[in-house]
């Protein structure tokens, strides 16, 4: 079999247009998971300002919160977390063998709810920074 042809990477991600619901769910879940763990590290780092005293803490946090980007990122984080939670629940159901036939629908539903919550949260999250 020395002469056979390996089509390499095109097969994996070059085919993204042909991915099905379950594959997207997997990719999104991965992505959101990594964002969350990344955020956890950052979050603890930010909170560590408390070690330098109460003022430093309050200043750091409020300073950050005053930034438009940070608020925007927070909305993103919320979306990421909500999706990860919802799809996580979906995955837990799948693990228990519940509703396997509706696995694609539940993925779309997760996306929909995530979108809705993210949009709904904008007024709250963006208060005082231009909204």
């Amino acid at each position: 079999m020395s002469q056979s042809y390996n089509r390499g990477l095109i097969e994996d991600f070059g085919r993204w247009k042909e991915f099905s619901a379950g594959m997207w769910a997997w990719i999104f879940h991965k992505f959101t998971g990594w964002v969350l763990i990344g955020y956890l590290f950052t979050h603890i780092a930010v909170l560590s300002s408390a070690l330098a005293g109460p003022e430093a803490y309050t200043e750091t946090l409020q300073g950050l919160e005053a930034l438009f980007v940070v608020r925007l990122l927070e909305v993103g984080l919320l979306a990421v977390a909500v999706f990860h939670i919802l799809n996580g629940i979906r995955l837990l159901m799948v693990d228990l063998g519940i509703g396997l036939d509706a696995q694609d629908k539940s993925f779309y539903l997760s996306l929909l709810i995530t979108g809705a919550i993210a949009v709904a949260s904008v007024p709250t999250f963006m208060t005082d920074v231009g909204f």
């Binding site: 998971g33 909170l47 977390a81």
Partner: protein, 123 residues
């Protein structure tokens, strides 16, 4: 055939713990978000408020547990993802070591910060 009755294989344990922690995290994370973004607004956070919450023992313990489970869940998730991508041999051991150290550091740092917020180890 019954020569090897070793209990949990690594794969199985990791898989199960990932799910168990996930169940806990659903509640912890929802609670956390709700409390700090909707009940109290993030931009209004001040040290005093944080301290007040942290002085509640239940809240304090919950947050520590939240930190530990989230760290485990996240790091274990990352590790599994890397293994699924074909990480083996020495690199795998190195990655595991780094991840373990990072999580210990994270959890250690987090607990330290939490104690500080609480205003020392007073129970």
């Amino acid at each position: 055939m019954a020569e090897r009755y070793s209990s949990f294989t690594p794969g199985g344990t990791a898989w199960l713990l990932q799910r168990v922690t996930a169940v806990f995290l659903i509640f912890a994370l929802a609670f956390h978000f709700f409390l700090l973004h909707f009940v109290n607004h993030a931009w209004e956070i001040e040290f005093a408020g944080t301290q007040a919450r942290m002085q509640d023992l239940g809240y304090f313990i919950t947050m520590i547990l939240f930190l530990i489970t989230a760290t485990f869940h996240g790091v274990n998730g990352v590790y599994n993802a890397l293994i699924n991508q074909g990480l083996t041999g020495t690199p795998r051991k190195v990655v595991l070591a780094i991840l373990v150290l990072a999580s210990l550091a994270l959890v250690g740092q987090g607990i330290w910060v939490a104690i500080e917020m609480r205003g020392g180890l007073i129970l």
